[in-house]
């Protein structure tokens, strides 16, 4: 609504507005749109707790399929290639697991280099847990920021460089922690980024 009214102001008073006013209106419209995205993502963040379903035996492969299906357009647009190892049954809220995969893979696509994104999803067992990994060949992350990136609103780039609200990874962390697991950046990984998270195996 805010951006619509800015637009209307611009139209109605066009003859009487100078270039600076045009710029003010553009900034206002941009701000309004950003606020809208922010609200949407904050709601998603807050709903990890309030809308969470009980954890049950879940096919991680299926959750990943759902995520990839939601990302179809982005995958095609960026010519991204996804490979996966065999994924196990885990204790999870299927929709939240889908969201977790979706956010990590969307990031892998977004923070790409010039060559087409290549993303690999895998899982290895570790006791009563599985350790999942989502690895890409993108721009990578300075290990200095390995912890900070999971904090809400923490971004490493300006909006001109890469769009985003700084809430995606915070949502991932919240989901993983709700599932009794951990999420971290693999700082040894070279040639891109590799995110790891643990989930309990389903009995």
């Amino acid at each position: 609504m805010v951006s619509s009214y800015c637009e209307l102001l611009g139209r109605r008073y066009q003859a009487r507005l100078d270039d600076e006013a045009d710029q003010f209106i553009r900034f206002a419209v941009d701000g309004a749109q950003r606020m809208q995205l922010l609200i949407k993502d904050l709601l998603a963040f807050s709903r990890v707790g309030s809308r969470g379903q009980p954890l049950e035996a879940t096919d991680a492969d299926h959750a990943l399929e759902l995520a990839l299906s939601n990302l179809q357009a982005a995958l095609a647009e960026d010519d991204a290639r996804i490979t996966t190892g065999a994924l196990p049954m885990v204790l999870a809220d299927k929709l939240q697991l889908m969201q977790l995969f979706q956010n990590l893979i969307a990031n892998a696509i977004k923070y790409r280099r010039e060559r087409p994104p290549e993303i690999h999803v895998s899982a290895v067992p570790r006791g009563s847990y599985w350790v999942f990994a989502v690895a890409d060949n993108g721009i990578g992350i300075d290990p200095r920021f390995a912890d900070g990136i999971f904090e809400i609103f923490k971004r490493l780039h300006t909006r001109d460089q890469y769009p985003g609200t700084g809430i995606g990874l915070a949502i991932c962390k919240r989901i993983v922690e709700r599932h009794g697991g951990e999420i971290w950046l693999d700082c040894e990984y070279r040639g891109g980024s590799r995110f790891c998270f643990t989930l309990r195996a389903a009995r």
Binding site: M1, S3, S4, L8, K40, L43
Partner: protein, 159 residues
């Protein structure tokens, strides 16, 4: 577009249930920009909407609309409660209801259709898209589809 669109049902009214004056005005502006003459009646909360549709005071002379545009985030009685009430009322349940809301939340969408909303529209944030939405809604609901007989004859309700 060269002028006002001729409406085969020129007197069919649309009832907008919306508490935010800014959003009401935007809907009017969008109708104007789309060159539509569809009369828009507005009530600002759910209880008023029900009273209007039942021709209860202060709406004794209200005409039955051919279409209801219903916001979800309303004070006191929210959109879903209004929907439930309307669809449970044998006199009112046949009136088409389009949810028109800022929310894109899947649960809101699912619940709306579960409560028999005829359709669900997420309000666009860009003005031109709003013009497009009202054009499409008007075209579909007031020109393409056949409305229930009592609505298309624009009868007066009540005494």
């Amino acid at each position: 577009m060269t002028g006002p669109v001729t409406d085969p049902n020129p007197k069919v009214e649309v009832l907008l249930v919306e508490d935010n004056p800014g959003d009401v005005e935007l809907t009017r502006i969008a109708l104007r920009e789309a060159r539509l003459l569809t009369p828009l009646k507005v009530v600002t909360d759910g209880e008023q909407a029900v009273a209007y549709l039942r021709s209860e005071p202060p709406f004794e002379h209200a005409r039955r609309p051919g279409l209801i545009l219903l916001d979800l985030n309303l004070p006191r009685m929210d959109g879903h409660e209004v929907l439930k009430t309307l669809k449970a009322d044998p006199d009112l349940k046949h009136i088409p209801v389009c949810i028109l809301t800022t929310s894109g939340d899947e649960m809101d969408i699912a619940e709306s259709y579960n409560l028999h909303a005829n359709s669900y529209i997420q309000k666009p944030s860009v003005l031109n898209d709003m013009v497009s939405v009202v054009t499409h809604v008007n075209e579909y609901w007031l020109r393409v589809v056949k409305l229930p007989p009592d609505l298309s004859l624009h009868q007066y309700t009540g005494n």
